[in-house]
Symmetry: C3
């Protein structure tokens, strides 16, 4: 099957950020997203602490360029203030042209 | 640790398709699957619209050959009628022989 | 954006194992984790059977060395007794130094 090489961008954040994140990723070129509820622990100022409330795990299939723009936005407007995790994996996407 | 290189195939679809998808992927050689509830937005006829109801995010660890067969099945029998996303990532799987 | 190459380690297990898994991965060097509820089917003694109860899907961003230690622990203390799936993917992580 013909597939398209895209970036799978995963963002983990407090669910209070959901609306804002959705708006931002759409503005920066994401054609869709998938969200699951999640919970966990992470580093805050050197200690591992239970996250308050519920988290979301958002996944986006995007071009390298859109991924880059979203990472820049996260680094600039989110990372100082919020506990946000973001990482990229390579994905071979069926009907991947839809996401470009 | 010894691991086996497999394909991680992720399928995102309406939860109404769950039973049918499970039957199809088993018939085509998947030895198991993991499903999480999800929600999101995607492209329908050019516009980004909230998906109706709940979605599922199904993950399969399969050989390249089984992945290929499942992608062909999705392209042939699902993609015209349903909002389905499918993508492959590379995975190094512990005790991976179980999945072949 | 500058990212750090890490391993995304996914562990799927019975939710009854959650507390024990969390303790073990922290002891072995994981700086955090994300968990989602999941369900599915897998191989037990050659047959595909519905898993009893609920499962968890735990994700960790770790160095190759920590990933290796956790896989060894799973192989030694979990795989004989429990239905556990574990696999590694490559991930490019924003602010990845936090996870080392």
């Amino acid at each position: 099957m013909k597939t398209v090489s895209l970036k799978l961008l995963t963002i983990i954040a407090d669910e209070a950020l959901q609306r804002r994140l959705v708006e931002d990723v759409k503005k920066l070129g994401a054609k869709g997203y998938t969200i699951e509820k999640a919970f966990g622990e992470g580093e805050h100022g050197g200690r591992v602490s239970q996250w308050e409330g519920e988290n979301i795990r958002m996944e986006l299939l995007v071009s390298k360029e859109v991924a880059e723009k979203i990472l820049e936005k996260l680094a600039r407007d989110y990372f100082e203030k919020f506990s946000v995790i973001a990482y990229l994996c390579d994905a071979e996407v069926l009907r991947g042209g839809k996401f470009l």
